[in-house]
Symmetry: C2
Subunit: 490 residues, 2 copies
């Protein structure tokens, strides 16, 4: 049912009364600013935008939405790549960008407490004078918010060694889908009761809105060394990656780019990678100096054994930054060599890398669609960039087919349809390829328990926005005797 | 309501039909074997015991219980210390000890797939020839089952560096409380959808029974070095611990024992710790040899700076085993110096160690109850052993008061009522001291979603076994307009 103008006016008035007129946007032109997140192929203008200043205001916004029966979608910086923060035309977009205070930096306990709108890199900047940093480093770390990172369980190049957002979040205060404020987790390493924190991290706004996040701070490594190795083929680079991991080295990062990705990066940022490379690896080690020194030598010789034809070792921070510049700009850079592209995100077991890359090459050749490959090779997280020209008849469809076929490859190799970008709006339709109905129903149990009315980011994550009453519950018949018996503990 | 003999006979017959007569126990004497777990002060004889041979049989047992409205409790090896596997007199105990196959050891992917009854140490034994092991190491690792470890999210001495069970479980197949078989997680590092795996690990049998567990294997370290440092006081040992962590060293383990714990260990296993020590630290480093060598020297000098009066470095595996023997036998050893004792388990921020130890000393003196302290000093996980003699009038009560007061200390210092032993039956009553009603209701939402009839391990984890209908749901009113609107995604 579509909402009437009167309904919306009443909700806007309720929101203004609750959090102040300057924190509610209803002007159509201003609303357009929020029509998409980082996945720009989908655009929806929200009915209203609310910018709460604190947790209590955030709860007030949610309660007003619940009272009006209006869906709401949370948004941090809007850099997500799966459409997780795509607005609803009939809903309120709750933007956390005015909740941007770092509340505590506690280096002794290796903890920081921040509001959800705080930028990822700002935590590191605040912690660095104390000898610490915040480890998860999505490419968008200069602009993405920690609240968005929590929603999408964001990764980054250094997650091979350090893990994803979920490994660095110790506690969250949130507003539940009915407007209650609760805490999950805390400072202690293993809180009793259910670890709902783990379920909340990566729940993409469907279980509530984080209003305060306690994160783990990581000690700055004593030493960081980076090398760039050029190979003739991705197979050789893949074999080098496997050899490094098999040797028991856990690099901070192992990143791979293929020839097309290198070509794009050169065109965009002139990173000066070795000419003629069919693949480059960037391998970074960090940790105590004696360990890094010993393992770095080992990595270098494993690259040579696997036929690297050129190895460069970063002499200083400037050269290290140049190695990374090519890699970190790769997504945007393909815009230089293709009018349109899809950033794909999938995971395979590391051991399946060579076979999956060959199959991607075959798919590309069969369908006449170029695919540039950029990936976190160490943990098998692929980011194929599927290139196309929307102006050419049929190319968009073929590109989407190749992109989908790559996800199928990931699934058939025992991997996953997303490594770090989330399901969002974009991949909800792929969920049944990865999970059985029973598995999805089990997840839906949690969503329905938190949000039986389906107001919190409906249409995201799960394929069919079915009503909670339709979910086959665990409740297959009431046993009055048992219900009475529950009061006896023994 | 108590169950009649006829009801029980019918259920026993249904179970025998489903899984075979030799897998169901109803003889009172045989049932007595299962009357408690590692927390022997509580004893309850179960109505029936079922020993399913595989996942399908396990599901059949649960379905039979559901059909009969009978509660069920899962049990692995029964070594838990919080009474999580304490039977119900009116219920079925589902014992996983006949599901003991290691299904797969995949060293290349660093994964093992095992049945729930597999013993913790058996995974390491199977993985060692491939250069790997299973990292979480509870003191009971020679007899505890992986299913029980998953239920309780077990820890161990080496969790400081390697994390708890939850950090090493990648996927679980389980039977839900209504008898469905579902999978949570998998081999890929970051599965899409809700991370219910994290909530399942540590759910103490209240969300279902694990029937297959996929765990991470860890590469055997190149080098392991262990030292034992003796101090006059626990304050000095605590200061040394803080100095080690502050220096950025992450030891595999930092274990502390105070004078009374040392006395008990000496009496029991003659471990030969330095005479006159008010506290000993065992510090173990593992990893690549150059790192271990450099950091070991650093640890040694930090112990000396903090006034260790004797430092012993394990010359070989035999001496290393002797250092650990005293520590690992400590719980049982206090039986040599006290007729009765309570093993407490709590967590505090590492920085609060000296203050909390002083307060424990004061409590002990005030109430005339001796307390031996054994703990994972590196991560602030205390195991105070509260000693008493049940034959002396009033001592039991005073010991329980001291034990409870120690938990209060943990809470007021921002810690937790359990570090690794779980809530189980024993600590359910302390949950309201740590969580608000809203926090507990939020957890209860999950339990009710999975198990609305309250048949899966009722009476454990949560303080009041309240009926799911009484939990204030997130559902505070139905909005027909919204329900209709759910079908429109935008």
């Amino acid at each position: 049912m579509s909402r009437t103008t009167t309904d919306l006016d009443a909700l806007a008035a309720a929101l203004r009364a609750a959090i102040g007129a300057d924190r509610v946007i209803s002007d159509r032109q201003q609303l357009r600013t929020y029509e998409c997140d980082g996945l720009a192929q989908y655009k929806v203008i929200p009915a209203l935008v609310a910018l709460p200043a604190d947790a209590e205001q955030c709860a007030a916004v949610v309660r007003a939405c619940v009272a009006a029966g209006t869906p709401f979608v949370a948004r941090g910086s809007g850099t997500g790549l799966s459409g997780g923060a795509l607005p609803r035309a009939d809903g309120v977009l709750v933007v956390t960008s005015r909740m941007r205070d770092i509340l505590e930096i506690a280096p002794d306990d290796e903890r920081a407490v921040v509001q959800p709108g705080v930028i990822n890199l700002a935590i590191t900047r605040a912690a660095t004078p104390h000898g610490h940093y915040y480890a998860p480093d999505p490419s968008s770390q200069q602009i993405c918010s920690i609240g968005g990172n929590v929603a999408e369980n964001s990764g980054g190049a250094h997650c091979l060694k350090y893990g994803f957002t979920t490994n660095h979040v110790l506690g969250v205060e949130l507003v539940t889908p009915d407007g209650d404020r609760v805490r999950l987790g805390g400072r202690a390493p293993d809180a009793p009761g259910y670890d709902l924190l783990g379920a909340f991290v990566g729940s993409e706004g469907t279980l509530g809105i984080a209003t305060e996040v306690t994160v783990r701070l990581t000690r700055l490594p004593e030493s960081v060394r980076t090398l760039l190795a050029a190979f003739q083929t991705t197979d050789q680079a893949g074999a080098a990656t496997s050899a490094i991991i098999a040797a028991g080295v856990v690099p901070a990062a192992v990143e791979m780019m293929d020839a097309l990705a290198i070509e794009a990066a050169e065109a965009a940022v002139h990173c000066g990678y070795p000419p003629g490379a069919g693949a480059v690896l960037i391998v970074e080690l960090d940790g105590p100096e004696p360990e890094v020194a010993a393992q770095f030598a080992q990595v270098e010789s494993l690259c040579r054994e696997n036929r690297a034809f050129e190895i460069r070792i970063a002499a200083d921070d400037a050269e290290r930054a140049l190695f990374w510049k090519g890699r970190k700009s790769a997504f945007a850079a393909v815009g230089r060599i293709s009018p349109d592209y899809i950033v794909q995100d999938g995971v395979i077991p590391r051991t399946a890398l060579p076979e999956v890359l060959r199959r991607i090459g075959e798919l590309s050749a069969e369908r006449g669609i170029r695919v540039a490959n950029v990936f976190h090779a160490g943990d098998g997280n692929l980011h194929p960039l599927v290139l196309f020209d929307a102006a050419v008849d049929g190319e968009t469809v073929r590109a989407e087919e190749v992109s989908g076929a790559i996800l199928d490859l990931c699934i058939t190799h025992g991997g996953s349809i997303t490594g770090e970008h989330g399901v969002g709006m974009d991949k909800a339709r792929y969920m049944p390829r990865m999970f059985t109905d029973d598995d999805l129903d089990t997840m839906q149990l949690l969503r329905c328990a938190f949000d039986p009315d389906g107001l919190a980011n409906p249409g995201k994550v799960f394929p069919t926005p079915r009503l909670c009453g339709e979910v086959p519950g665990r409740h297959k018949g009431v046993h009055p005797a048992q219900e009475a018996g529950l009061a006896e503990v023994f």
